[in-house]
């Protein structure tokens, strides 16, 4: 299981995936807005998204678990 945790706080601008979706390494999963910049998070490896713990508009914290992918 790959757990994608947030490197910084910010707000969730776009969520581009959902549970059950098959993703390839490098696909953008979601985009945070941090200090007026878009910060895309990409899938580190291919697999199936099993959980998405964030929704658009959320104010999020560093180290928060965002997405889980089963390889």
């Amino acid at each position: 299981m790959i757990k994608i945790e947030l490197e910084t706080g910010g707000s969730v601008w776009k969520v581009l995936t959902k549970p059950g979706v098959r993703v390839e390494a490098g696909d953008t999963l979601f985009i945070l807005e941090v200090m007026k910049m878009e910060v895309p998070y990409e899938a580190p490896a291919s697999g199936e998204v099993v959980a998405v713990h964030i929704t658009e508009g959320d104010v999020v914290e560093e180290d928060q678990l965002a997405v889980e992918i089963a390889e």
Partner: protein, 517 residues
């Protein structure tokens, strides 16, 4: 009558010293996936180059006839050796004896390491695995007197070493107490992710004093210490740590009285990278990869990043331009927009001090939106740490070249330019007292609120101001030395490096301020 008896005994003691803590202790060390200090030293140095200092130091156990029964070597190994043909001083605790907690002779050798390095003006490498003093004492016979009031200050030589020669350290096993303090008293430190922990105090002491039950890794493993700046880098294992240390030393002069070696780089000065033309997105909300710019501009594969896990909005490291060692400092807009955080400022300050101490020119790639803001930033005293970085830059005497890549805002941007620095700007450069987005909302608050469509008016104002931030007027006013095509960055910086060569010898000797941990 000759001295054969004595020379035989010298040889015997030499042999016994090499046995360290004995076969069982060495097997135990290997069983935990760790090397002994002598193996580490051999791996670090050029083959056969180790010249030991004090190999006869230790405790001899004699029988009633004065015959040697056994010999316990000092549990700290010290000596000279060569890395890529250049001499250094190397030292480290022997964990196979007393768990690296110093024996009397071991302690003497360990505090001698820094004195030796300052005396001979050679870089120092310390390979740490050990703990500090024990309440049981150093195991010497009889009660020892405390040191006299006029004894030399214990840590003076540690500080002097840092002001005189490059000091690189590695944590290769558990490093606690005094060795942990000496680990961080360095210009570059690396820890082995597989085998090392760094502990001010170990789990037993912590549980007794704090009631906190934690493993060594939870307290002081790499996940903790590569993120908080205790060490600069984490490496997979012991061997990788030693490679990183060799790499660090390759950029450094032997001491503050010498210039860093210039090596033939084989990378053409005129190499122009086409991808730099569109690496910075025109959409100002979109981030770009500053590390890719660094890889492209500096001599190929020369960039050696230090502190990647800590103060991540800033990127610091060593690299070469046409073979000349330089310090590289850049913003990472992918992390907190590249803003100056408290830890990023601390990292940058220490980095500038490193460059100043060893007369390394600084190349700054600027994309600074300003000090980090918000309640967390206030709690972390960002303004104090940030201003410390700004004033450090203002006090440096080494040559600077700054390239304005994108943003350069607020007080924080001043940290990215040295006195009389050479300044180039990319067409994407923007600068001012405050980034447009934040600034417009505040400065035109009333006008925006009064507009029929406030959101549209805000956007309109932002666009007007963005247009005014074009770097052309700045170049016309000689506010930068030149406005350049991003693809020409490498050649422009290489030419600058060539121009500053006559300035470098005058920088040698003690710096006005030197680096502290």
């Amino acid at each position: 009558m000759n001295w054969k008896t004595e020379t035989d005994e010298i040889a015997r003691r030499r042999q016994l010293a090499l046995e360290q803590g004995g076969e069982d202790a060495i097997a135990k060390q290997h069983g935990k996936g760790r090397l002994t200090i002598r193996e580490r030293i051999d791996k670090l140095l050029d083959p056969g180059s180790f010249e030991e200092v004090g190999p006869a130091a230790g405790a001899a156990n004699l029988d009633e006839n004065g015959e040697l029964i056994s010999f316990d070597p000092a549990n700290f190994v010290l000596g000279f050796g060569k890395v890529e043909g250049r001499r250094i001083v190397v030292a480290g605790e022997d964990f196979t004896m007393r768990g690296g907690s110093p024996s009397p002779a071991g302690l003497r050798k360990s505090v001698y390491a820094e004195e030796l390095t300052v005396q001979y003006k050679l870089p120092l490498v310390r390979l740490h695995e050990g703990s500090g003093g024990s309440v049981g004492g150093t195991g010497g016979k009889g009660a020892s007197l405390p040191g006299p009031v006029n004894a030399p200050a214990r840590f003076r030589s540690v500080a002097e070493a840092m002001a005189t020669v490059p000091v690189a350290t590695a944590a290769l096993g558990a490093v606690a107490g005094l060795p942990a303090g000496r680990l961080v008293a360095s210009h570059f430190s690396v820890m082995s992710k597989a085998t090392a922990q760094i502990l001010t105090a170990g789990p037993a002491v912590v549980e007794r004093a704090m009631g906190e039950k934690k493993t060594k890794d939870e307290l002081g493993g790499w996940k903790v210490h590569t993120k908080n700046g205790t060490v600069d880098n984490g490496a997979a294992d012991e061997a990788e740590c030693l490679i990183e240390i060799r790499r660090f030393l390759s950029f450094m002069p032997a001491n503050i009285d010498q210039l860093a070696p210039v090596i033939d780089c084989g990378d053409p000065v005129e190499r122009a990278d086409e991808t730099l033309l569109d690496i910075v997105p025109r959409d100002r909300r979109k981030a770009f990869d500053m590390r890719r710019i660094i890889q492209s501009v500096f001599d190929q594969t020369s960039f050696f990043e230090m502190g990647a896990g800590y103060g991540r909005s800033q990127i610091t490291g060593l690299a070469r331009l046409n073979g000349q060692s330089v310090g590289v400092w850049a913003n990472n807009c992918k992390f907190l927009a590249g803003s100056m955080t408290a830890d990023g400022a601390h990292k940058a300050r220490r980095f500038m001090e490193l460059c100043e101490t060893f007369s390394l020119p600084i190349i700054s790639l600027v994309d600074e939106p300003g000090f980090m803001i918000g309640s967390r930033a206030e709690r972390e005293a960002t303004i104090r740490h940030g201003t410390s970085a700004v004033l450090t830059a203002a006090m440096t005497t080494v040559p600077w070249a700054s390239v304005m890549i994108r943003r350069s805002f607020g007080v924080a941007q001043a940290a990215h330019y040295g006195p009389e620095g050479y300044v180039l700007a990319w067409p994407s450069a923007e600068s001012g007292p405050l980034p447009i987005e934040g600034g417009v909302a505040v400065a035109f608050q009333r006008e925006i609120a009064a507009a029929p469509d406030p959101e549209a008016r805000r956007r309109e104002l932002e666009e007007e101001l963005v247009a005014r931030q074009s770097p052309f007027p700045r170049a016309e006013a000689l506010g930068v030395h030149d406005l350049i095509d991003p693809r020409q960055t490498r050649v422009e910086l290489c030419r600058w490096v060539d121009r500053i060569q006559p300035l470098l010898p005058a920088l040698l000797g003690p710096a006005r301020f030197s680096i502290r941990p």
